[in-house]
Symmetry: C2
Subunit: 197 residues, 2 copies
């Protein structure tokens, strides 16, 4: 007995990650009853974003132009290429103000269980970008999760085989971290990768 | 350095209940990267729902017609009017198959802290509906939460003052419980044991 347009809206909301039938219903009622302006804005934002957003030809991140402003900036160091999983990771590295090179955003990570292999991640585009003239070093900055590590391994093997110099962010105890509150895996890793002082 | 259309999408997703900046970002990336078809469908569903959905003249629930199919059904008992907070509550009562009367959906509850008083709930529409000829009894089936109880009290006072017979679901429903999450047997029991207030 539910109007079909309401049913369709609840069903459509389930495409959002982590949203099941109950949350979708709650969201639909909230939008229709309490925030029609927000709902209209969301509808327009979705349509507009799908229309104008594409992947940067250089770094693969989202942009509205063919090449994003960061890749087009001549003041960035084009000899360094930092590989991250998502734009949010890129934003974190930018916040450190410790890096002025360029980026390549994978837009995901290898995740065989979710059916995301080298082909789905389109690693060919990364290889083409990383083997361009002028790239001196590729810094792998994928997450230190199982999937991020597996992605780094695969990318490192592909690029090394093509003669590209590849480095990885160092692992260890976080700055400001206390040993007592650091997990044993991290401490073990920091011991193995200890540095001469 | 984020494209404005992506920024606008992330901002727009925050109108969803329980969605903060991080989830909104995650949702936007998921939609753009992994489910563009779902995103397009959601955009269309939102626009369409806002266009065609309205409140039933009789029961105040969402419908695409002036009067919803349930209110227009001559086989329902028009002498009984059951007042619920949300369409989800109505659906639960229908599932008990213990009620064949009509409904009035408040589309909310009194919640002074959120600025929702009798005026915002438009209780005038309920009063007009409940005082129509042919309505023999109004059954209050708001939640047994603090806000639902307060709503029931207010509605009971308003309707009793106008000579309407008002009953409330019995306390078979656990105190502090919400209809949407209560088993149908308990709700059926509460319908049978409804008490005059």
């Amino acid at each position: 007995m539910m109007p079909s347009s309401l049913d369709a809206l609840i069903e459509a909301l389930r495409c959002l990650p982590g949203v099941g039938p109950k949350s979708a219903q709650r969201m639909a009622y909230h939008l229709l009853q309490r925030d029609q302006r927000g709902a209209a804005r969301l509808g327009r934002a979705l349509t507009h974003a799908l229309e104008v957003l594409r992947h940067c030809e250089r770094c693969n991140s989202f942009t509205e132009e063919a090449v994003c402003p960061r890749c087009a900036n001549p003041r960035r160091d084009a000899s360094l290429l930092c590989v991250v999983e998502m734009p949010a990771d890129l934003a974190m590295i930018e916040q450190t103000q410790a890096y002025s090179g360029l980026y390549y955003v994978l837009m995901g990570r290898l995740s065989p269980l979710d059916g995301i292999g080298p082909r789905e991640l389109r690693l060919g585009k990364l290889i083409a970008r990383a083997t361009e003239d002028g790239v001196r070093e590729v810094i792998l900055a994928t997450n230190f999760t199982n999937e991020g590590e597996a992605t780094a391994h695969t990318v490192a093997a592909l690029l090394s085989a093509r003669g590209v110099a590849v480095t990885r962010l160092s692992r260890g105890v976080p700055v400001g971290g206390e040993l007592e509150h650091t997990d044993t895996g991290t401490i073990a890793q920091a011991l193995v990768e200890r540095k001469t002082v």
